[in-house]
Symmetry: C2
Subunit: 118 residues, 2 copies
Amino acid sequence: MDEFVRCEEEVSNLETVKRVKDNLLNDEEIFDLAELFKVFGDSTRMKIINALMMEELCVCDIAEITNSTPSAISHQLRVLKQAKLVKYRKEGKSVFYSLDDDHVREIFEKGREHIEEV
Amino acid sequence: MDEFVRCEEEVSNLETVKRVKDNLLNDEEIFDLAELFKVFGDSTRMKIINALMMEELCVCDIAEITNSTPSAISHQLRVLKQAKLVKYRKEGKSVFYSLDDDHVREIFEKGREHIEEV
DNA sequence: TAAACATATGAACAATTATTCATATATTCA
DNA sequence: TGAATATATGAATAATTGTTCATATGTTTA
């Protein structure tokens, strides 16, 4: 991966590139971060998160709230679960989901602040 | 969209659904939020953001730092620009990009906190 | 002005992914 | 035990999207 067309390489450029490169998160951390935000990057999941910010909910209610099918919601809850954004507890036939920690809420809010400024 | 298989509807369920539904962000806000996070949800863009957190950089340097091509980076910078995550200034042949505001940094950091806890 | 360089952009292709449909699992209750 | 309900899951399809390649635009300098 080094046969690309490059800029003229002046000393300042090489130094800048090296300095920044050395301070980047490593590839795995970058990947994990991108994967995390990818989970937030879908309207259905965003709605689920928004709903769970208010209270614990079962799959069926989430489906109704989001105008979606229980099946679609179940698929999406699996994604949210894998990303540790939601947790669940079983009660009889139902499974109740809730937000896993406050980061979810905080990330949501930061995003909202950005949106509102634009 | 209302012919789905629904849960047994007890009074408590209907009330819960209504209460939550009434307090959801509207569809447009949800969509915009999802679109914003979608921008964070890509390793290349994540790396660009991470690099720009350190200093202003030209396209060519970003390409080198991220082991990518100037063309690919240019496409991604357009996405970041449209989301108001980066701004730019021209200087001669070069175009220097930098983070647009502190929300970017904050969202990045909140994401990192979440990752580290897992 | 022409050549060289930096960046941008459109089209095409490959890869990813959200939803749907069919079906499976698990729990309750008659 | 069997029927009904709630949730989960696998496969298929449709849509979205990141990169590449070719080329265009704009700037500097010889």
